[in-house]
């Protein structure tokens, strides 16, 4: 569904690339995980795919068609993104309802008021919260609103940029389960970026492990669970994650 070929991203001409020769192919309905330590370029890849950063080399294809670096408006009906920090991803001075209306408005679709209520209910929020402002909601509720906003346009693909890392543990589990349910209900395709191997192994069927802007290993999730991953960096990452799990 999404194919990335030879993606190279530099911040400034002639500088060392932040991401180099990145390749990725995601099948429809798949949940693909992109893992790696902080600063390895996971989010940079995601921003390039989403169209937020048009300065990349290489090709990004959607359904076999090469995308313009400046995305067309219709692209956003198919691909939406959920951000890491629910405190920063909602407009502080707009009510929940108007934030949900915004994607429809920007795409020139007329909004039915029932569809906005449905959007809230789909993510497990009571529509009575419609006219609250983001600062009157909890972190988990805000992230649900952000997910609802991404789903208002009925996209096929959801890009998830560490959607739970800013939330506390019990809320994390709720949001992850919500994302799981939505995927099975609507047949969504996910590209999940995370540094948390537990989150990725819960959500994804296939993963790519990144180090310093390059994919070092791409494998099925079973191999991660069994520990039969081959690249030394992946083993170190897995080992570190397990030790952290024990000590915590």
């Amino acid at each position: 569904m999404i194919e990335v070929e030879n993606l190279t991203i530099r911040f400034g001409a002639g500088k060392k690339p932040v991401v180099s020769n990145f390749n990725l192919a995601i099948e429809p309905g798949m949940a693909f995980g992109l893992v790696g330590e902080s600063g390895c370029g996971k989010s940079t890849v995601l921003r390039a795919i989403s169209g937020l950063n048009p300065n990349y080399e290489g090709q990004i294809k959607l359904d076999g068609k090469i995308l313009d670096h400046r995305r067309e408006r219709s692209f956003f009906r198919q691909v939406q993104m959920v951000f890491q920090d629910p405190y920063g991803s909602l407009h502080p001075r707009k009510t929940i309802r108007s934030q949900l209306k915004e994607p429809l408005r920007n795409q020139g679709i007329s909004a039915k008021s029932t569809s906005l209520d449905d959007a809230l209910q789909a993510v497990g929020l009571d529509p009575v919260l419609s006219y609250r402002f983001p600062h009157q909601l909890s972190g988990g509720q805000r992230q649900r609103v952000a997910i609802a906003r991404a789903l208002v346009l009925n996209p096929a693909i959801l890009l998830l940029d560490e959607p739970t890392s800013a939330l506390d543990v019990s809320v994390q589990a709720e949001i992850l389960n919500l994302l799981q349910d939505l995927r099975t209900e609507r047949g969504l395709t996910y590209l999940l970026v995370s540094h948390d191997l537990a989150v990725v192994s819960h959500m994804c069927s296939r993963i790519a492990i990144m180090e310093a802007g390059e994919v070092v290993e791409e494998t099925d999730i079973e191999n991660l669970r069994k520990g039969t991953i081959t690249h030394p960096y992946s083993q170190r990452l897995l080992g570190a994650s397990r030790r952290y799990g024990k000590s915590a």
Binding site: G88, H91, Y131
Partner: protein, 311 residues
């Protein structure tokens, strides 16, 4: 420990207060009014701000109700009762043409209010638009717009206003244009700084990912975030604007006689300062009081509206 019910439930059920504090507002109007009420609750904590607000409201009321408040005409001369001291008949005395000073102060409030409103209406949109465009687009657009802003910023306000009044002829409209020309750059800068801190925020990225045009992002998402600090800034600048307007009037380049204007009144009063101090004292006090009031309100508003101060 149990709290008796009458203490926890202080408001009447179904009352206006409950509507104001309802946890689940039922519409955009209620939710906006609630936000306004929360702001008012914070504003109320500033006694000096309340004093300032009272003075400004008084200014507006006086300007609106001027003909009701005094029986005298501010323009018609009465040479027989020239330079009369304050009395029951003329509360603040009369000036060198025998006009009632109190009436002229009251009608002068209209002039002041007229200047304030027009300058705000001209300055705030221009400053906001230039600042947000400059900050959002960056690069060449930013360079060009900010250099233009620098040029206007480098003129001392009163001197530019003097030159302007000299070129276009004295008058209140030209004074307003001249003041506006020098008052927008600080607002543009403020809006630009505010925009720079916002343009990479996730909530703006989210809107870009909805396919919104740059103009829609600026006007619908960035502008509303800049408005609170611009309101504070404009309110604090208001004192300067009033004083510049009075200064122009004082120099004879603002409102033209016989139209009552506080600055011009102070200028005529100067000649009779020793013998008839009321002629200059009244407009002087009015100018000082209104400027102070705007500063006090501005300070209180800053505490209410400044995003860095609050939650």
């Amino acid at each position: 420990m149990t709290i008796p019910i009458e203490q926890t439930n202080r408001s009447e059920p179904g009352g206006f207060r409950q509507w104001l504090l309802a946890p689940e507002p039922e519409g955009l109007f209620q939710s906006s009014v609630q936000q306004f009420y929360q702001g008012w609750l914070k504003f109320r904590l500033h006694p000096l701000g309340l004093v300032g607000l009272a003075v400004i409201i008084l200014l507006i009321l006086v300007a609106v109700a001027a003909p009701v408040l005094t029986q005298y005409d501010p323009i018609v001369q009465d040479m027989a009762s020239r330079l009369a001291p304050p009395s029951a008949e003329h509360w603040l005395g009369t000036d060198n043409f025998g006009r009632d000073v109190f009436a002229r102060i009251i009608y002068g409030a209209r002039t002041t209010l007229y200047i304030i409103i027009l300058v705000t209406v001209i300055v705030a949109p221009i400053g906001l638009l230039i600042g947000t465009c400059s900050g959002y687009f960056g690069g060449v657009v930013d360079e060009i717009l900010m250099r233009i802003t620098d040029i206007f910023l480098s003129f001392p306000g009163l001197v530019l206003a003097l030159g302007f009044a000299a070129a276009l002829g004295p008058g209140i409209t030209n004074a307003i244009i001249a003041i506006s020309l020098t008052a927008w750059p600080p607002i543009a800068r403020l809006a630009r700084a505010e925009t720079l801190s916002l343009r990479n925020a996730d909530f703006i990225a989210a809107v870009r990912l909805q396919g919104a045009s740059s103009m829609a992002i600026i006007t619908r998402h960035i502008l509303p975030m800049c408005i609170p600090s611009v309101i504070v800034r404009v309110t604090l600048n208001m004192a300067g604007i009033i004083i510049t307007a009075a200064g122009l009037g004082f120099l004879g380049l603002g409102a033209q006689p016989p139209w009552p204007e506080w600055g011009a009144m102070a200028a005529t009063g100067r000649e009779f300062m020793l013998d008839s101090p009321w002629v200059i004292a009244a407009p002087g006090i009015a100018i000082a009081l209104v400027s102070l009031a705007f500063n006090l309100v501005g300070d209180a508003l800053r505490d209410v509206l400044d995003p860095r101060g609050g939650e």
